[in-house]
């Protein structure tokens, strides 16, 4: 059965202050309710005042997503009662959002963007003694209340979760390049995913954090809907909650009708006109976007398109890192090879991003130079990287401390001779023309000398000595 999927993506915008007051947005490592004021707590008598930076950022996003930007727009009140809502209404955009009708290209396909609008985040709730369905009580932290969000709504254009993943990866990279979003912050990007099987009702999975969870949630939901149908039942229209631990979804509420939020225009905020002059100012601020960057990396550095995509889409900071390295060491092809293989592997293994790691261009290049000048072998380089990513110490130091420099000629010859003596069968095989036997012998030597010699040199020695 064909699946039809659409996304609503909520992104925390990277501004210093909240959307409608001057409280700081940085709520990590803060006491609960430390970043609050009468406005973001909705005290009687307080009024919102829109932060222009938020509108600037949203215009940039809308432009990057090829949207039509409305020349004037309004804010609206979306009313519903919930303990995370300071005013029991959310300031958002309804009839006339900032932008509509855009698209983003993924492989062989355009995904339509229905709209891009701004809204305020509610407070963060802590469910004590259980999850959202079983908690004994709830604590509310209003540090998050009023933080600016943009909501990107797509058309229902996705058919596979692979497309969803590609789209999210691309959006995330665009937002990073626009410098409006911090991908390392928990909950900086949350997704509501809608999915239906052809001819069936639509189910919304609410509030999923993390791309992988979006994929898992959608996959689970498709399987669930299929089995519901196979059992001869109808899929019900409802909102479901994704449990990241069990990787399953559970029903939150039935949705027989569209929820009714009783929207009115936000009367405390005036109509906002987005003039051509304003748009031109934003044009000047528009940075290079990921696809443009990939093309430039290919053209300017001679790296492959695949490699360029890896560094750009993994993390903008990784692409920045690559370019920084190229400034101090003019071997981009070697640099990118090391980045997309061993460095990335090591970072992932340690679950750390380039920005939060101790990896710096200067020391990373030091490592490449050790290899290029033959001080250590490439194979040893792979070992050094593991240590280097964890400690951030100078690779030279690591090499010296661990005694990883190459062993001298005499010792090497001695070791080769010993290996030949011990592995007569392999030597015979080699002489018979079995190439694998040679690889085996080289491997044995490397093991014996803890890889402190160039494999090619060992090969030549074996050839000479057998």
């Amino acid at each position: 059965m064909k699946a039809i999927m659409g996304l609503e993506i909520h992104v925390h915008l990277l501004t210093d202050s909240k959307f409608f007051c001057r409280c700081p947005t940085d709520y990590e490592n803060k006491e609960p309710n430390e970043n609050t004021c009468p406005i973001c707590c909705g005290f009687p008598g307080s009024k919102p005042k829109a932060n222009k930076k938020v509108i600037d950022c949203t215009i940039m996003v809308a432009k990057a997503l090829n949207c039509k930007i409305n020349p004037q727009m309004f804010f609206s009140r979306k009313s519903y009662f919930y303990p995370d809502m300071p005013k029991n209404f959310q300031i958002t955009q309804y009839e006339i959002p900032l932008a509509t009708k855009g698209y983003l290209e993924i492989t062989n396909k355009k995904i339509g963007i229905t709209r891009v609008h701004m809204e305020e985040d509610p407070a963060k709730l802590f469910h004590i003694g259980g999850d959202i369905l079983s908690a004994k009580y709830i604590l509310a932290d209003y540090n998050r209340a009023g933080i600016p969000l943009i909501e990107i709504v797509t058309d229902p254009d996705f058919r596979t979760t692979k497309e969803v993943r590609e789209f999210l990866t691309k959006i995330s990279s665009i937002l990073e390049h626009l410098e409006v979003y911090d991908s390392s912050k928990e909950a900086a990007l949350r997704v509501d995913a809608n999915v239906s099987l052809e001819g069936g009702e639509r189910v919304e999975i609410k509030n999923i954090t993390g791309f992988k969870n979006v994929e898992k949630g959608l996959n689970y939901e498709m399987v669930r809907q299929e089995s519901v149908r196979r059992m001869g039942m109808e899929v019900q229209r409802e909102t479901r909650h994704f449990n990241a631990e069990t990787r399953t979804t559970a029903s939150l509420r039935k949705k027989e009708f569209e929820e009714d939020y009783g929207y009115i225009f936000e009367p405390d905020l005036t109509r906002i006109e987005i003039s051509d002059k304003w748009l031109k100012e934003i044009d000047k601020k528009m940075p290079e976007l990921p696809d443009q960057r990939i093309e430039r990396l290919v053209k300017d550095y001679g790296v492959t398109r695949y490699q360029a995509r890896v560094v750009v889409y993994t993390d903008k900071a990784l692409a920045d890192f690559f370019e920084e390295c190229c400034k101090i060491y003019k071997k981009p092809v070697d640099i990118i090879k090391w980045i997309v293989t061993d460095l990335l592997k090591s970072l992932n293994w340690n679950k750390v991003t380039i920005r939060k790691s101790k990896v710096k261009p200067k020391t990373f290049i030091e490592l490449l130079k050790l290899i290029d000048t033959g001080k250590i072998t490439a194979r040893l380089g792979k070992e050094v990287i593991k240590d280097y990513v964890v400690t951030g110490k100078s690779p030279k130091e690591i090499v010296e401390k661990k005694g990883l420099t190459l062993i001298d000629e005499d010792k090497l010859i001695k070791s080769v001779k010993e290996v030949i003596k011990k592995n007569s069968q392999a030597v015979e095989d080699y002489k018979k023309g079995k190439k694998k036997a040679m690889e085996y012998l080289i491997g044995q030597v490397l093991r014996k000398i803890k890889a402190r010699a160039d494999p090619n040199k060992i090969r030549r020695l074996i050839e000479k000595l057998v």
């Binding site: 909705g42 009687p44 307080s46 009024k47 009313s79 029991n88």
Partner: protein, 441 residues
């Protein structure tokens, strides 16, 4: 001397219930345009450190951590705040009977209403014998109505002339803070202090602070007065109409000229006003749920049940009615027919006024269709009849134009208000006409 004023305020309050809160002591911060003048503040306007309930039990005990901009400006000009005046809960009424606290009585006849919703402000103004100006607030007529019923002057400025920061909202697109006092001069003085730009209110106009007392000229020579015929129709007490016409003739004798004018959308203004005001009010009141401030109850059940419990107890019947009606008008399926339609009608009403002001400097009409009614008469009225009382004030309030009500005589020994309306930002003209009438009547 100031302690004496507090004593007097308490005595007035004992008789007429015009205050919800009276200050413990009087504090001033220096000298200025208002030094020596006692300022009373309608209870829906926040005063730092002094309870502000907007006339509702759901906000009983709520002490704002900040001053409204208008209060801060008054303090800077040397005024002292004597207390918070009684009102209909959140401004929901025309007679101040929809209050969570004691109903204010008209000092001219305690059997009668002060009007509303700024009832306490007008009642206090007529009762005091010390220098005093009241800060009032009007959404659909809440300054003009009580000023008329109590025989004092009430000035409602252009929407956007005065910052609403610190005003506990009723209908944000309609709410205007203004002044009530014994003379036109004092209302102009207070407006000069409280108006002007404010970075905390996005809807306030970026205009320089102005001195409105310079418009206190004794002259109406060449002033063109429009008489909106729809404002003299059915339901308006004939004796009131007669008095208002006498006032118009008086102004004519002083050099003004007048002509009848039509505001054809007047009959739709009332519905449009109530729909917009209630739609906005129903969202404004949502935050009052016993969670963060105001009334609290022991927690039982889930949050929906808890919110309902607090709101059932904290709001008066009228607030509940307006929440239900306001919510209805913005629900899917009705939103188009009510809320959005009302916004369109509002534009038509504004166009009526704009057209009239092309030819006239001011429009003059009665402020209220009746004199202050007795409480037993009010008790017999249906809610819709309450709303109809606002028929003459909602139009200009919906349009956001400035208006001033000045006493123009007595009917059955009760005061009648003359309503002088001006084009947007033409407070100067209405002050001039009102002042001229006041000194020559």
């Amino acid at each position: 001397m100031k302690q004496d004023i507090l004593k007097k305020a308490k005595e007035i309050n004992e008789k007429f219930n015009v205050f919800i809160t009276i200050a413990d002591k009087v504090e001033t911060s220096g000298k200025g345009k208002l030094s020596g003048i006692a300022i009373s503040v309608k209870d829906n306007i926040c005063t730092k450190g002094m309870q502000s309930t907007a006339g509702s039990r759901i906000l009983e005990g709520y002490i704002p951590p900040f001053d409204a901009t208008v209060v801060e400006k008054c303090r800077k000009e040397g005024a002292f705040i004597i207390g918070k005046t009684t009102e209909d809960e959140f401004g929901f009424g025309t007679f101040s009977i929809n209050t969570g606290f004691d109903v204010p009585k008209n000092p001219l006849d305690p059997e009668r209403s002060c009007g509303g919703s700024s009832g306490g402000a007008a009642g206090l103004t007529v009762a005091v014998d010390f220098p005093h100006i009241a800060i009032g607030e009007s959404t659909g007529g809440s300054i003009s109505c009580p000023a008329a019923f109590c025989g004092v002057v009430g000035l409602t400025p252009t929407y956007g002339r005065v910052s609403r920061w610190g005003l506990i909202d009723y209908g944000n697109s309609l709410d205007k803070i203004g002044s009530i006092s014994k003379t036109v001069k004092d209302t102009a003085l207070l407006l000069s202090v409280i108006s002007g730009p404010d970075e905390y209110d996005s809807t306030v106009l970026q205009l320089k602070q102005e001195d409105f007392t310079k418009h206190l000229k004794d002259s109406v020579k060449g002033i063109k007065i429009g008489i909106p015929k729809e404002y003299f129709g059915e339901g308006v007490d004939e004796k009131i109409t007669k008095l208002v016409w006498q006032a118009i003739k008086k102004l004519e004798s002083l050099g003004a000229n007048y002509k009848e004018v039509s505001l054809p959308h007047t009959k739709y203004a009332l519905s449009s006003y109530y729909i917009i005001a209630m739609a906005e009010a129903s969202t404004n009141l949502a935050k009052l749920c016993g969670m963060r401030y105001g009334l609290h109850k022991p927690i039982k059940g889930n949050y929906d049940e808890y919110f309902s419990e607090v709101r059932s107890q904290g709001f008066t019947e009228e607030a509940k009615r307006r929440i239900i009606l306001g919510t209805f008008t913005r629900m899917a399926g009705f939103r188009e027919a009510y809320y959005l339609k009302a916004l369109k009608v509002r534009t038509k009403v504004i166009q009526d006024f704009k057209k009239a002001f092309k030819n006239y400097d001011v429009l003059i009409a009665p402020t209220m269709p009746v004199v202050a009614p007795r409480f037993d008469e009010i008790a017999k009225l249906e809610p819709i009849q309450h709303y109809t009382m606002d028929i003459l004030t909602v139009g200009p309030n919906l349009a956001g134009i400035p208006m001033i009500s000045v006493p123009c005589g007595l009917v059955d020994e009760l005061p009648v208000g003359l309503h002088i309306m001006g084009d947007h930002l033409q407070e100067g003209k209405i002050i001039q006409v009102a002042h001229t009438f006041e000194v020559n009547k």
